[in-house]
Symmetry: C2
Subunit: 253 residues, 2 copies
């Protein structure tokens, strides 16, 4: 089982879009996938057509140890299950700040899984607070979606530093799985330059496959669908299938 | 003096881009402007060419009441001053959580301004935590940059609710100044549909001027420049000049 945290404290770089469509792509290939929405905005939950504001139980109830895991998991499609979120989760940082071992709450909850899926993907909020730290202690790999623009490059070094601190203190297993370039437009010099810079710093950690800028990816959430359900022959669907194939290839190395 | 907080907990919608270029546009019109970077990512600071990681004092020292305001302010251009940020600010949430009246630290610091500028613009992180609350208690208006895509629309209702809670409990003066549509591409149906939806809900709170998607706006930060310094005749520069004109017109009503 691979548990992957999708992180980047820079906002709007494609964390949620990548978590959903990587998950859906792996499910299409026959892998069992569990998606976890760890963002109080509950964008992954809404984007998959789940009414976050009407749900009785969410990931917050799991972290507070009030509800067993099997009651929180939602079947979303074949091979694709979800642990949804809601706005209540924004209270977690304060409510859990005095709990001993508060960084391990998610990891412990996932240990109660009756049946291990092939992949667990965790969508994180755009910050490096308690929720993201819970994802990093539960995960064995980190994927960093990066929008190929200057501001998105800015925070990479502090992001890598945070991962290293978590590796040293909370989770020795944690490794940088890969960096995925998102919203890439080959016509923009800026995008080509930033991708080159990332390749210089991070070498083959950068996925060969880039996710092109594709309006279908921005439209699909409004229909509560994955890219494969919404427009299976779009560039977005093609790129995410290619990233999944590269991901499985990397896992087998 | 108008103090405006640029907020939206949705990431990557153009908060920083809007704060910088609205500020620079108002300065170009002859108004005195103070920009405040309240994001630990320090994107506004970096995007204006200031080396956040090398600065001795930042907004964090101001909030901790360790440094007087006049020592933290940096002159960036004519009529344009900045209170920079740095990564240290990410410690504020924990460090200040037990300080009585922690929500009013920024407001109190700004009361020590020797000379009041015409406008103060505060760039906020993509969350509704203590830093954003400090901005909302110091401000008399809120501007909400919105990327015209589905996910960006999702969080609007919870954002408005947060503003209302702050109005009731911490700052009776706070008003919704306006909503600014960003990264708008007239060719995309999705963008047109979302703008229509916002106009339905919020009426003339939505600025008539939209900020078009324009690669110069994404390139300027890499050069440490405002859009007016980088490409004064680009669509980005034109749109921000138009937003400034509309802003001044609204202020005079
Ligand atoms: N490759 C792409 N092409 C076009 N639009 C995209 C692409 N990837 C993401 N988007 C759109 O860009 C916006 C930001 O993406 P997304 O919400 O996935 O980012 P995020 O990093 O999860 O944001 P946050 O920091 O708020 O959690 C969304 O409106 C999404 O639909
Ligand atoms: N109108 C525009 N046209 C093209 N690119 C834009 C535009 N507005 C913003 N951008 C780019 O989009 C990205 C996100 O913008 P920005 O960083 O200003 O958003 P933000 O809301 O401040 O993000 P965060 O939530 O991380 O603070 C940046 O790379 C920026 O350069
Ligand atoms: Mg997200
Ligand atoms: Mg910003």
């Amino acid at each position: 089982m691979k548990t992957i945290a999708l992180i980047n404290q820079k906002g709007g770089v494609g964390k949620t879009t990548t978590t959903i469509n990587l998950g859906a792509g792996l499910a299409e290939l026959g892998h069992e996938v569990l998606l976890i929405d760890l963002d109080p905005q509950a964008h992954l939950t809404y984007a998959l057509g789940l009414p976050a504001h009407e749900l009785d139980v969410t990931v917050y109830d799991l972290l507070k140890e009030e509800t067993p895991l099997k009651e929180v998991i939602v079947e979303r499609a074949e091979n694709l299950r979800v642990i949804p979120s809601s706005l209540n989760l924004s209270g977690a940082e304060m409510a859990l700040s005095s709990v001993a071992g508060r960084e391990f709450l998610l990891k412990e909850a996932l240990e109660t899984l009756a049946h291990e899926p092939g992949y667990i993907l965790i969508d994180c909020p755009p910050s490096l607070g308690l929720l993201t730290i819970n994802a990093l202690t539960a995960a064995n790999e980190v994927y960093i979606p990066v929008q190929t623009e200057f501001l998105a490059l800015q925070g990479m070094s502090s992001l890598i530093q945070t991962v290293e601190v978590i590796q040293k203190r909370l989770n020795r297993e944690l490794a940088l799985g890969g960096i995925i370039a998102t919203r890439y437009d080959n016509r923009k010099t800026l995008n080509r330059e930033v991708v080159e810079k990332i390749r210089e710093y991070f070498g083959d950690k950068l996925f060969r496959t880039v996710i092109r800028d594709n309006v279908s990816l921005a439209e699909a959430p409004g229909h509560g669908q994955t890219i494969f359900e919404y427009r299976a022959r779009s560039n977005g669907a093609k790129d995410f299938r290619a990233v999944c194939a590269e991901m499985v290839e990397r896992a087998e190395k």
